[in-house]
């Protein structure tokens, strides 16, 4: 397998600070040097990666709790002195516009309605679809799978043009229903793909037994396959929720003129451009936008990551 001619390392690792890469003879072998370097570098790399990934979110929370004038006076502070903690920003961002806030409570309501409805509708549509694609032989099955895959890789902006025009024309712009339809169409195809993979791993023998006992296809699906696929369906539902909650482009295209219909993502992006709203208040808004996703993600991480990488081993 390996073509190397370096003898097995017998030298004790000593210090490891020397950087003489190819000194096979003498005190340090290349192997020892590399091992020592890696032992030193690995924790360093992990710490740097962790800092880079987490710091922006930590800083988000810090800013959301500091009063604006304190931030302007000392922009470099990396924590909140306990006497400065100011949770009023959260009250400000949540209160309705009439009472001097930014109305995020309404935005949260809109986001929840759209995201939950997207989950419900797409599961209703896609679960039977995925079952059919996995189990049943019907005309055009392969072509349908290809179509769904194509949808998955489509540039969203290409869809944005006609949908924007169409919804403008039929007056559905500014309605959450229009957004809902678009979301369902976008995620249904993906959901079918993911669920189909899961159905494929469930042995058919149980279903065949039920069929022999006289159950119809639909009964078999409802009573046997669905309960077995529940873990996949739940993790898929979570995915769809996160996608719908995070979505930005179509919300921007359809809802931007109606402040009372804004989702949290859209609301934050629109207010971020204005000078009147203090950055600290908006940071509170971004914490509110991010928190549900992070909580959901950590609560279901094993489930999600397992589903995410289920196919990667195929390599």
């Amino acid at each position: 397998m390996s073509t190397t001619r370096t003898p097995p390392a017998r030298t004790a690792v000593d210090g490891g600070r020397s950087r003489r890469p190819r000194s096979a003879g003498g005190g340090l072998s290349r192997d020892a040097v590399e091992n020592a370097t890696i032992r030193l570098l690995r924790p360093l790399v992990v710490v740097v990666l962790l800092l880079v990934s987490v710091f922006p979110f930590y800083y988000m929370v810090v800013l959301s709790l500091r009063p604006l004038d304190a931030v302007l006076r000392d922009p470099g502070a990396l924590w909140v002195p306990p006497d400065q903690v100011d949770p009023d920003t959260y009250a400000d961002v949540l209160r309705s516009v009439q009472s001097g806030g930014q109305g995020f409570l309404t935005f949260i309501g809109n986001s929840l309605v759209v995201a939950l409805a997207t989950v419900a509708l797409s599961m209703l549509v896609a679960v039977p679809g995925a079952y059919a694609v996995s189990r049943l032989e019907f005309f055009g099955r392969r072509r349908i799978s290809a179509l769904f895959l194509a949808v998955y890789f489509f540039p969203a902006i290409l869809l944005a043009v006609p949908l924007f025009v169409f919804f403008t024309r039929i007056g559905l712009r500014g309605s959450l229903v229009g957004l809902l339809v678009v979301y369902v169409a976008q995620v249904a195809a993906v959901t079918i793909y993911m669920l189909r993979n899961y159905f494929d791993t469930i042995p058919v023998s149980l279903e065949e037994a039920a069929a022999i006992d006289g159950a119809t296809r639909l009964q078999v699906m409802r009573k046997i396959a669905l309960p077995l696929a529940m873990p996949a369906i739940v993790s898929n539902g979570l995915f769809v929720f996160m996608i719908a909650w995070n979505e930005f482009l179509f919300a921007l295209l359809f809802l931007v003129e109606r402040r009372d219909r804004w989702t949290v993502s859209l609301g934050l992006s629109q207010l971020a451009g204005s000078i009147e709203v203090p950055t600290t208040v908006l940071m509170a808004g971004s914490v509110i936008l991010t928190l549900p996703i992070v909580v959901l993600f950590f609560a279901s991480e094993r489930l999600l990551v397992g589903g995410l990488t289920a196919g990667a081993e195929k390599g």
Partner: protein, 337 residues
């Protein structure tokens, strides 16, 4: 928008070892006919929605791209109109388009490469178990799962030249002469080894953002693949005296390359199509106007629907050609389909 669900799709075909769900071949029995009918019944709702909200609109885009449509005369435009290639001629010869296309290519190639490189480093660094690895792994996924609007907002705040924390510490600790306008400066002179080099600041910043945001995706994939590499291979090479870099080069990389190839295609497609990140970070200013942001601009600000449609079609066509060429040259197509 549905990027988050990525890898599962790549699994594509049937899971290895799964029983073939296809059943006995071509049996024109009553049961087979019933099965076919049930199958069509179950798949119809999805097909209807996808055709209505994706396929028909795309066909309509093609029609719009060949007409002179503006938001103002929208109500009078039908499916059958005066067809013309004017939009395409205008778009392809307009001043900003070539530059915008070049920006898109640079952004997607470098963003993809950055994300995969960082993801690979992360996967290798976290390969062997240690206390707290699970938590760290989960934490590294944060940039990928967090809402894009929140992530871009905190980045713009951190990078702000007035009160951004990065510039604050950069000028104090790293000896920057003055705050860097990361997101609004088209180019800056940087002295590198005594040479003054002009770097496209804002473009590099959005590329860094892209790498930051999507490296967890590559990290997830590569970690899963690394776990599937049999330990015996590594052990054997170690016994033969292979050093860590040699084992990486000769044992691990050959195992990881197919995964990296798939990742490159996926990330390239998504980065090429990406609208949100750049729109939210720079609004397409300071030399970061990628084609999708340009399309959006034509659509909403200028109300020039025909030109927007034509540009989005050109974007999709270029992407299709690039991906097909890649698959033809290097691809094992079954990896993606």
């Amino acid at each position: 928008m549905s990027q988050i669900a990525g890898p599962a799709v790549v699994a594509g075909g049937q899971a290895p070892g799964a029983p073939s769900p296809r059943g006995p071949r071509r049996r024109r029995s009553a049961r087979g006919r019933e099965e076919s009918r049930t199958g069509l019944l179950l798949i119809t709702p999805t097909v209807v929605i996808v055709v209505a909200v994706v396929v028909l609109p795309v066909l309509w885009t093609v029609s719009l791209a060949f007409q002179s449509v503006r938001l103002l005369n929208l109500r009078t435009t039908g499916i059958i109109g005066d067809y013309t290639v004017e939009n395409f001629v205008d778009v392809l010869t307009s001043s900003g388009f070539a530059e915008s296309l070049l920006t898109t290519v640079l952004y997607s190639v470098l963003g993809t490469a950055g994300a995969i490189l960082v993801g690979l480093v992360a996967a290798l660094a976290l390969r062997h178990p240690f206390r707290g690895r699970g938590v760290i792994r989960a934490a590294l996924l944060l940039p990928y799962v967090a809402p894009v609007v929140a992530a871009t907002f905190v980045w713009t705040t951190m990078l702000s030249p007035q009160f951004g924390v990065v510039n604050h510490w950069g000028t104090r600790l790293l000896g920057w002469d003055e705050p860097v306008a990361f997101l609004s400066s088209r180019s800056d002179e940087v002295s590198l080894l005594g040479l003054d080099v002009s770097v496209p600041t804002a473009l590099l910043t959005v590329i860094a953002f892209e790498a930051w945001r999507s490296f967890p995706f590559a990290f997830l994939f590569l970690t899963a693949r690394l776990q599937a590499v049999p330990d015996t291979l590594d052990e054997a090479a170690r016994v033969d005296g292979a050093t860590p870099t040699q084992r990486l080069r000769h044992i691990l990389m050959p195992q990881l390359l197919p995964t990296i190839a798939v990742l490159s295609v996926l990330r390239f497609i998504w980065t090429f199509n990406n609208f949100d990140d750049i729109y939210l970070l720079t609004g397409g200013g300071a030399g970061t106007e990628v084609v999708s942001v340009r399309v959006f601009d034509f659509l909403t600000a200028r109300g020039d629907i025909g030109a927007a449609a034509a540009q989005s079609l050109v974007l999709a066509a270029i992407l299709a050609v690039a991906v097909t060429a890649y698959l033809k040259l290097f691809g094992r197509p079954e990896e993606v389909a």
